[in-house]
Amino acid sequence: MSGVAPPWAVLLVPALLIVLGYGAAAGTAALRARAAGAAPVSGLTAPARESARLLVQRRRTIPGTDTLLWRLGGALVPVAAVLAALVIPLGSTAVSDPSVGVVWFNAMEVVVWAALWMLGWGANSVWGLVGGYRFLIQGLSYELPHMFALTAAALGAGSLRVGDVVAAQEQVWFAVLMPAAFVVYLVSALAMAFWGPFGTPVGRDLAGGVAAELSGVDLLVLRAGRYVFLAAVAAMAVPLFLGGGAGPLLPGWVWTLVKTAGVLALLVWLGHRLPAVRMDRFTEVGWVVLVPVTLLQVLAVAVYVLVR
């Protein structure tokens, strides 16, 4: 089922992620333009024009910054996204399909914790520091349910290899088989990309949070990195829960892209329709509701695997 792509495909991954991320940014801008009473079409060029502005803007030097950690933190976000995406198969081939692909994805996605905290700390500003703390508590709230959701998918396939997870969904998609895990995955996807309702680490009430002191290219890298990361977590939902490249008529890689775009559109729409979730309230929900729900989901999947 799964194969390994030629080496040049390593370059294809960031390119695809950037295209998908640009699409998400443009979609967000289009929804915004509609809410403002303008033509949604104007949203299509908005991310490019915003990038132009940030490219011209000067970087800032602030007294007392930890420049090393500050700059490193910003760069880590897109890097983590690309590394995480290496195990996602496009159709039936992935750049790499290690035997522990699911764990690899999880490990790379956690790197964003470090990235955001470095950004918030390095800028030497209260807003940034509070934003960094917020993302840590957000991480501690979503991470366990997220891990159990991944576990459920891996358990259903009996393997941590992403290719095997796709292969196990030939009969029925895991989104149907384990709906709770799928929903929790989508929630944690929003949370780990600190996007939409989980965007408080860079929230308006903190004057931009970890991004409060960023300008110019640094800000561009963070903003673009966030969309790229959102695209990567949306893409991972496809092999885990939506049958990978399986589908009629079209070739597998087209189906993967179509499904990814669909998940991404759903996430963008959710970000448009929901207010921010306050972390001091969500933490309790994460631990008291989501963890038991995902545990029960894992139990149900285990029973299903046994009786199948």
Partner: protein, 171 residues
């Protein structure tokens, strides 16, 4: 030959960790030293497993146990630090030595531990320019710094430095 190299790496990590655990005064830094030592155990166990008896899974199980030990060590370490800090305002191993009952307990608690050492540097920074200048605050609000703040020199952490902030963009 690879086995020896891996074991040398483990020995080096272990020694560095040992140095940290022995020489550092802060509880948290001591824990960092301990973690490095456990890390060395992980490397050694993994290498020994692969190069001596890869058919038996014991090496891997040992690594798993070491990883668990690391997690447990950290969780308990921070819990103890928090409890100590709350009860005694102490975060240095020397100051907690009176737990062993051969030193008087006076003199160590209180704010001394922190005050002696030049304060929590960065925080100040955070307070310092996070905002006042940022979103336009008042320069003078430091003067209401509370009397509990030890050492007057940190009385007004939040105020200073409006002028510097942001005036130096670079190309």
């Amino acid at each position: 030959m690879m086995l020896e190299t891996y074991l040398l790496l483990a020995a080096a990590l272990f020694s560095v960790g040992l140095f940290g655990a022995l020489s550092q005064q802060s509880v948290v830094m001591v824990m960092m030293g301990l973690e490095l030592m456990v890390n060395a155990v992980i490397v050694a166990a993994a290498a020994l497993w692969l190069y001596t008896s890869p058919e038996r899974p014991d090496g891997q199980v040992l690594v798993l146990v070491a990883v668990t030990a690391m997690a447990v060590e950290m969780a308990m370490g921070f819990a103890v630090t928090t409890a100590l800090f709350r009860a005694r305002d102490v975060d240095m191993v020397d100051m907690a030595a009176d737990l062993a009952d051969h030193r008087g307990s006076g003199g160590h608690g209180g704010h001394g531990g922190h005050g002696d050492h030049g304060g929590h540097g960065d925080h100040s920074g955070h307070g310092g320019h996070g905002n006042p200048e940022h979103h336009g605050g008042h320069e003078d609000h430091g003067d209401q710094g509370d009397p509990e703040d030890h050492g007057g020199h940190r009385g007004h952490e939040g105020s200073g430095n409006h002028g510097h902030h942001g005036d130096g963009g670079e190309r």
